[in-house]
């Protein structure tokens, strides 16, 4: 009997010592469009793990949010007249301790057939995007802290007018960026390693790449003509340029530049760190 009483007391003590379980909210918002629709999609996220990829339902935008109810809030607006969807995901009470109990995941499935102007701002959290096969007219991403991985596994269905990536702190890896079919790209990374792979480039394009602190790795496939200018930061930039790019004036130019039907003009500011360019 004593054992049972003791066990009961122990269990009660354990129960009271357990932290209160927060509600995990799981909410999905789906928006269906006609294939010829245009859409402006704006994401403003305080803190979350963000995953973005094409939707298997190609005329549907789907936003799935999974978060701890007490610490996050969100608002999603759909302006049908302007064809604009904005999601604001707020982290509340930043100063409070949460003992790692917080959870915030956002999954966005983008419609492939809708012409999309996509603007994304994320203060904190890792970002994983697979944007191949979409119909992006513009794409802008700004992150403050967290690693960023963006991949275009398939070509964008239409030409992208602008591609603007601005990441402050964290590693940034851009795979098969040529598949984005951009005309002009602005890539700015504050602190952290930057990897850019221009595979898939099928048209003439320009790109300005700016890194403040960290190593920059740029891969360009050899079937793409290259005209490269490097703006070093005093003696603090270490630049490694392949011999197949010949120096002409202030530029490094490949032999097939302007001979092929696809060339890229790169303007690179490596900042403080190494710049490695691979061209093969």
């Amino acid at each position: 009997m004593k054992h049972k009483i003791l066990l009961t007391i122990v269990l009660l003590c354990m129960g009271s010592a357990l932290p209160a379980q927060s509600d995990i909210v799981r909410k999905r918002h789906n928006y269906e469009f006609s294939p010829d629709d245009r859409l402006v999609f704006e994401l403003e996220i305080d803190a979350a793990e963000v995953k973005i990829e094409p939707n298997p339902h190609e005329d549907e935008l789907s936003v799935f949010l999974k978060f701890t109810d007490e610490s996050f809030d969100y608002r999603i607006d759909y302006d049908q007249q302007d064809s604009r969807i904005s999601l604001i995901f707020d982290k509340e009470r930043w100063m409070e301790e949460h003992d790692g109990r917080l959870r915030a995941e956002i999954e966005v499935l983008l419609p492939a057939f809708v012409r999309l102007d996509f603007d994304c701002r994320i203060k904190a959290g890792d970002v994983d995007m697979q944007l191949g096969g979409l119909s992006l007219t513009r794409f802008a991403l700004k992150t403050w802290a967290g690693d960023v991985r963006i991949s275009f596994d398939e070509p964008n269905r239409i030409s992208m007018r602008s591609l603007v990536l601005n990441t402050k702190v964290g590693e940034t890896r851009l795979r098969k960026l040529g598949n984005a079919r951009f005309h002009h790209a602005e890539i700015n990374n504050g602190i952290g390693q930057l990897e850019i792979d221009f595979s898939g480039l099928q048209n003439d394009a320009t790109a300005d790449i700016d890194l403040d602190i960290g190593a920059t790795d740029i891969f360009i496939p050899e079937d793409v003509g290259v005209k490269l200018s490097v703006h070093k930061f005093l003696f603090l930039s270490q630049v490694d340029i392949p011999s197949s790019l010949r120096k002409r004036g202030k530029y490094y130019v490949s032999d097939n530049y302007r001979q092929d039907d696809k060339s890229v003009i790169l303007k690179v500011k490596p900042g403080i760190g190494d710049l490695r360019i691979t061209y093969h």
Binding site: R26, R28, Y31, V164
Partner: protein, 565 residues
Amino acid sequence: MKSAKIFLTVIFALVLLPPVVAQKQQPDSTTADADNETNQSKLLMQNPLVQHVKNRYLSKKESIRFLEGYQTIKKDQSVDESILVNNGDLTIVGHVEGKAIAINGNIHILATASLRQDVISINGKIYREAGAKIRGEMIETVIKTRSLFTIPANLSSAKPAVIQKFNDDEIYENETEVRTRSYQWPEKRERRKWKRSYNLNTKQNSLTNDDHFLYRYNRVEGLFLGANVPPADNFNSNLVDLDLNGYFGYGFATKEWRFKGNAELWLFDKSGPALGTTVYNLTDSQDEWIIPTEENSLAAFFIREDFQDYFKREGFGFYLRERITSYFETSFGYFEDKYASLAKNTNWSVFGGDKHFRPNPEIDAGRLKSYKAQFTLDSRDDRDSPFSGWLIRGSGMWSRTGLTGDFNYDRFILDIRRYIPLRHGENFDIRLRAGSGRGSMPRQDFFYLGGLSTLRGFEFKDFSGNRMVLANIEYRVGDNSPRFRNNWLFNSMNLIFFFDSGLAWFADENEYYNEGFGQLTWNKLHSNVGVALTDDEGRIRLNFAKSVDPGPSDMIVTFRINRAF
């Protein structure tokens, strides 16, 4: 007996037959209801929207109960299949084993409800009370009226469209709107706390930065280290919108502490005006507009050149400020200050040889009670290296003997800047600055011209007065300009051609701020021309400037890491 049997038979038949008939009819009635439901289901299934929802969210094998109009699943009710409600709200108090779907209606899930699968509202909202148990997802779906489901031909294939070939110039010419400078991040929506601005009191914050760690170096304080509590964007009190910020630090040469504390109360949520109070003990300077503190600290630390003059200012104030639009902000306040001179306390720098820092000039010490007002209209695309936009800033200070201070004067400054992109790689920038006042202005509030950022072909602070006019014009051109792309000169550098003109003079103390301009004539204006070698943004630059005033003059060479304006 026989008649009795017949009678009983008839009675039996009369009594029992109707129920039997009824029993026969009852299955017929149930069949009719089922038929009605089936018909309703069939009718619903013919609805293209229902059909679409069924295909999208329900499996073919799934057992579905189709209902039309407003429906309620009661507390003691349990539905062991999926339920689809068309054109009406669905309220769930009981249990649903399958999916719960409302088309063109909201779904209300009360605390006692439990659902084992997804809850889906088509063109409606889902409202959930705390305590309701939902194992699946809550899905709100918006389906527009779909006139067609066909895919446009140009989108139907991932094959790239026809690739257009164009040269460099065309790329830049055609795509100017997507260059970095012109990319406009959309206005933040419904985020009032992000709209807060702390740039209004730039004068008071001039010797600080936004980081938590504070440092600077000058000939008065020597090395100054401190801690800064910047305005906390993310701090929100549930009770009041109160923000406390400021800094403190220690000057190792003066061996004195400096501090500033602000308390700001947002009166009508954060979209309205803010009422603030401030208390401070500062090493202050009027020369932040000539050279930023960070750049001046580097010059003092490395090459023993300190271009700011300092004085001690301690006191307190109350102010009201408001950001009326994202471009326009204004403030007004009352301040009581005590001014005192500070001496040069160090002559150390990393390099500089036998050079000596300039003495820090004496000021007119005393107590000042004043009203101050300021407005700023700022539409520039970038704070540090603007390429386009306006900056118009006006500030005024009134100090009357009625305020029982030691000074009786007014002081006004108007600064107008315009940044005009001519084309990619070429910019035309202009600044007009004027200062005026009334009464006996103390020395620390005189207007000084000459040297850095002002009249660049003249010696530093060559001219002074209680009136000032200044014009700076810059034409920036670089190799990004299509016009000069193949020019040998611009291949190796970017250039700035500049022209400065201005005058500072003393008017009679009794004249008002709009008087005393009789001395301002074209002949008296001091002017210089110059050229600067610079980086793409025009910040890091080597200036060569020469006076065009009559008489001999030297070439003035300066190296800067910030723009003049």
